[in-house]
Amino acid sequence: MQLLQLLISGAAQGCIYGLIALGFVLIYKATETVSFAQGDLMMVGAFAALAAMTVLGLPFWLAVPAAIIAMGLFGVVLERAVVRPILGQPAFSIVMLTIGVGYVLRGLITMIPNIGTDTHTLPVPYAGQVLRMGGLVVSAEQIVVIGVTGLLCLGLFAMFRYSKLGIAMQASSQNQLAAYYMGIPVKRLNGLVWGLAAAVAAIAGLLLAPITFVHANMGFIGLKAFPAAVVGGFTSLPGAIVGGLIIGIVEAFSGFYLPEGFKDVAPYIVVLIMLVLKPNGLFGEKLRKKV
């Protein structure tokens, strides 16, 4: 019973990591850049929903889509303004750029008078409810996290498989030159991919907010999502979710069974083991090219 309890709480946490890792992988697949700004985009998404609910007074069911769409647009604008000029430069420059973007987002949110430096609760309709099944105590937030992640995965799978946009995105991430030849507007698609990644980050933020509350340092959880992406493989979308689940469950179990302090480092030890044994991750692809 304890095992199942840990499994569920680990899976819920892991779904959050998986969603942020999904954003990383989306961006990496499309433009081969690693974005360190995902965690901070998640934080901005949560704050956007908070602003929609408290300042604009929208009800929950209106504020959530509004926040997600707003973050999507923000992602597109970010890509156009900041990322497109330096695509093609060494990967390190782009990483530093996204780190800078993260700094700016964090700083701007902290600078908002009164709201930025406090911790807020996001008023969700299912807050505090608990489900009891047998000996199992599961909070509604965890169920919502797992459920929404599942639905989102199905939605993304359907989009990538059946819609023209999804197929075009797959094409441009597999071979950009061929995509250009086929008339696919690659640059516009890259913008959309960034928008999609930002929207996914916003969803992650909305799911995380009832658990950890909304505050400016929420974005640091994004750093734990990197092990998730590495474990799953940077080039695989389902791998990101699976990697997130693995990291979440490992964290939950090590928090319970191992001595104090191992909980925070367990994901990183898993990363190191993964990099030594299988550097491309569980589902990553390893292509070879002759020199």
Partner: protein, 358 residues
């Protein structure tokens, strides 16, 4: 315009290329040596910080700028050096021995970190070093009976052969000596065959291997040397701030070090110094500028982070060669006046080869 007429191979590898360089660096040396009597004590303390961060910056420049291996967890080496120094000096071991041990232990940790680095490239190396950074920080926090854990560790003053260096002036001279030695060491390293091997690895690993450079050996050496310098810098840092706690060596410090190296200018020794100056001077400038900004912006808590982020973005977008690159362009403009053309330092728009097709 200056024309260098070379008659001897040795002139090619001299540290100071011509008389003008000797003159200006001697002037800088004169200023640094007479600084305690010229500038106020507060600015002398800041200058000491600049020297300490430059040593660490030289290490990170060696790793990231010259060998092309990007480490997101460099603060871990800083912490290892700082804690080693603190524990040894508190136990009564003389300062030079403790400093050497701090450097050696950091180098050993650097080699351990470097071992997985041999197998992974690019972003995966960043992840591995990030993971190491977190693990080392957590070890420093949990290993309480050695490091004092989260409640911190007080550091005694450095004692050299019975002579305690307590005043700001004396500590400043100690840092200056160590910095000068480190700079000369790195400058010499980069003009030796090892240094050329590092640069070859950065430019193209496959070509370097074809030339007979053993990647494993040189990458491990680069990690070890870079970590050793970070450890020595950390040891001096411990003495400067006199109180250590694990939060000072977190990922934020790692990113600050990277920021320093990128803004200073990747791939040059001057870049480490310019970046260190930027890192120390920027908070002062922000503090000075706060009075001129409207209260809503000036007194806000997140101002420093926003400014750092904006400066970093601006440098990456508009001045990828960093502060040193900008200085090179300005100097070229004045040297070639009025024949400077706008596109002189323009990079060829080459696109990064896809990492996925290896």
């Amino acid at each position: 315009m200056r024309f260098l007429f070379k008659t001897d191979y040795n002139q090619d590898i001299r540290l100071a290329k011509h008389g003008g360089q000797t003159f200006w660096y001697s002037l800088l040396g004169l200023f640094l040596v007479t600084a305690p009597w010229v500038i106020q004590e507060y600015w002398l303390a800041q200058l000491t910080f600049v020297l300490i961060y430059s040593i660490v910056g030289l290490g990170l420049m060696l790793l990231a700028g010259f060998t092309g291996l990007f480490s997101l967890g460099h603060a871990a080496f800083l912490g290892v050096g700082a804690y080693t120094q603190a524990i040894m000096v508190n136990a009564g071991i003389p300062f030079p021995l403790a400093l050497a041990c701090a450097g050696l232990l950091s180098a050993a940790v650097g080699m351990v970190v470097g071992l997985p680095a041999l197998r992974v490239k690019g972003i995966y190396l960043g992840m591995a070093t990030l993971a190491f950074g977190f693990i080392v920080e957590e070890i420093m926090a949990r290993w309480e009976h050695v490091t004092g854990g989260n409640s911190g560790l007080v550091v005694n003053a450095p004692a050299l052969f019975g002579w305690e260096l307590e005043s700001t002036n004396e500590f400043y001279f100690l840092c200056l000596v160590v910095t000068v030695l480190a700079t000369l060491a790195i400058a010499n390293l980069m003009r030796s065959s090892t240094g050329r091997a590092f640069v070859a690895i950065r430019d193209s690993e496959i070509s370097a291997q074809s030339m007979g450079i053993q990647l494993a050996r040189y990458k491990t050496m680069s990690f070890a040397l870079s970590a050793a310098l970070a450890g020595i810098g950390g040891a001096l840092y411990a003495h400067k701030i006199q109180f250590l706690s694990p939060e000072q060596f977190s990922i934020i410090q790692s990113i600050d070090l990277l920021l320093m190296v990128v803004i200073g200018g990747l791939g040059s020794i001057h870049g480490a110094f310019l970046g260190a100056i930027f890192l120390i001077v920027m908070p002062q400038l922000i503090a000075l500028g706060k009075d001129f900004l409207p209260a809503a912006i000036g007194q806000a808590a997140g101002l420093q982070g926003t400014v750092y982020g904006l400066v970093l973005i601006a440098f990456v977008l508009f001045e990828p060669m960093g502060l040193y690159g900008r200085w090179l362009k300005i100097r070229a403009y004045f040297q070639l006046f009025p024949f400077y053309r706008k596109g002189m330092f323009k990079r060829q728009k080459s696109f990064q080869k896809s990492d996925r097709l290896k």
